[in-house]
Symmetry: C2
Subunit: 343 residues, 2 copies
Amino acid sequence: MRNLGMPSYSQKQWLTQLQGSKYADGPVDVYNQNGRVLELEERVAALLNKPACLFFPKGTIAQFCALKVSAEQRRNNNVVLHSMSHMVLDEDDAYQTLLGLKGIPIGDHSSPFNMQDIAAITEKFATLSVELPIRRAGFKLTQWEQLEAMSQWCKTKQIHFHMDGARLWESTSHYQKSEADISALFDSVYVSLYKGLGAMGGAVLAGETNFIEQCKVWRSRLGGNSFTSFPMVIGALDGLDNRLKRIPEFVLRAKKIATLLKVFPQLEVNTPQTNGFFVFIEGDIDELTRKAIQLNEVMGIKLFNQLSPFPKSKKLMMEIQVGANHEAISDQEIIDYFTSLCR
Amino acid sequence: MRNLGMPSYSQKQWLTQLQGSKYADGPVDVYNQNGRVLELEERVAALLNKPACLFFPKGTIAQFCALKVSAEQRRNNNVVLHSMSHMVLDEDDAYQTLLGLKGIPIGDHSSPFNMQDIAAITEKFATLSVELPIRRAGFKLTQWEQLEAMSQWCKTKQIHFHMDGARLWESTSHYQKSEADISALFDSVYVSLYKGLGAMGGAVLAGETNFIEQCKVWRSRLGGNSFTSFPMVIGALDGLDNRLKRIPEFVLRAKKIATLLKVFPQLEVNTPQTNGFFVFIEGDIDELTRKAIQLNEVMGIKLFNQLSPFPKSKKLMMEIQVGANHEAISDQEIIDYFTSLCR
């Protein structure tokens, strides 16, 4: 099935892709030594213009390390983060139940928080975490001037400013800034190696040398020191070569699709800032879901994962993301799909 | 270089091996769904004769889940484990600093603990963990009768009996018992998918259905829910087909090599119970290390990783393990190697 979002490959397709890579030669990394892990870390460090980088097999583990080290350095376990952030909604409360941190969630279900929300916090805290964009709040980006103000404020208060940059690569177009320009505002930056970049998984954490050194022991404690990670590493290096430069095109296509969908009176369509956005529809969830599954099968395309209820409304929500194989689906097919769905 | 222990493959060699597998067809697993993860879990469950199994990308994470759930069930954070166990020595104290558990380490540097050691513990504890074999104490196995007694004792006291079975596959020959017979004594069993079995990494945790269910949320919290793990999964299924039945041969070869080395008056050689054992030598560590590295290069073979000081003695220790490509190194070469090293 043709997928508008992240392409789905079979095992064989993945293996063929890895075999064909120019990074397929050479020894495997063993517990993050000897293979191409260092090469990957150095390339990401250069892109983000940070002194040090560390590879992780999983993004959640990368962020755990950043939050934990920052908490240790300040002897304060409080973290300010968005109420719709990945850490709050998608990790079974690990940052609190596993790491012993305490979250101070701010911001509402459809927009980023700003300096005013932060200034209103009365408790002391060690870390301010900003997700770029906040997927669960509709892939919304914090305004640039707000990011600058937060960065400045954190410096004054000696608060650690952390970026959940799972979709940093997808955020540069909107800001019209480089990854390095955006990262410069933050003390630590987590970036994902799959999603937009197209690797098989994995993440990199960037920051000051001393900070990243302290993260190493936590990477080990959290089981982030894998026997080998080379399938992720090869894919990530390829992604930096070939996929990264295509990401602005994904954002443009998302904007194009949003424009097409705004014509439908039955749909409420957010304006994309990245390659992802929300579309809302009213109706019976079971009926619409049946219709969508049938359309997927008949047309052989997948435009969104599922319809789900949206908080504080009677609307149903579809999450649309644009990925590497988006050109395999035409604008006309998308129009036809929604024409049938809205009928 | 020919390696007596775990074979070391290049990236290309790994990829070729995966491409050639009969398990290379089909979809990838995505967050442990859809691919061959379930097939792997079911095969290990059958082998260990446990009602439920759960795949993990990393063994340490599998054990964390077992210990954490057991502690939660009993509202008691104390864990009794061997002072030379992997959890105590090789994980940067994660079970205490990350999981908030408290270790009660027993047993000395060269032998497993027994029922007498356990009965002497005055504190209440939730979990008794036994490593089979204890690698850092010389790959020593707990006596069968002791295991039976511990199992019985744990049942009476409602203590969770956990097996760190990183090398369970390598332990069956010594006991002359199946994996299922050994596992029957334990409430939960962790087994490794690499090392003897030859996958690219990964682990499985086995136990009662309810227990394994409760482990799932901790797997997610600990970042053990990977985007995809199919390279590990394919290798593990191949390992169960092809490697598992060869492991007793590795144990026999280890015994053979130990017999050869016992002839050297300069060496003190432990009798292997599994595919691994310790060899001791006296002398200057720098000089012997230089000699060993030179011999590796000249002869093109690697028999052990390094010489290291051994606790409470003036002896130096070599850890010898026998792996899948051991036949590429002849007995005569091993004799020649040690003849030169001892000269």
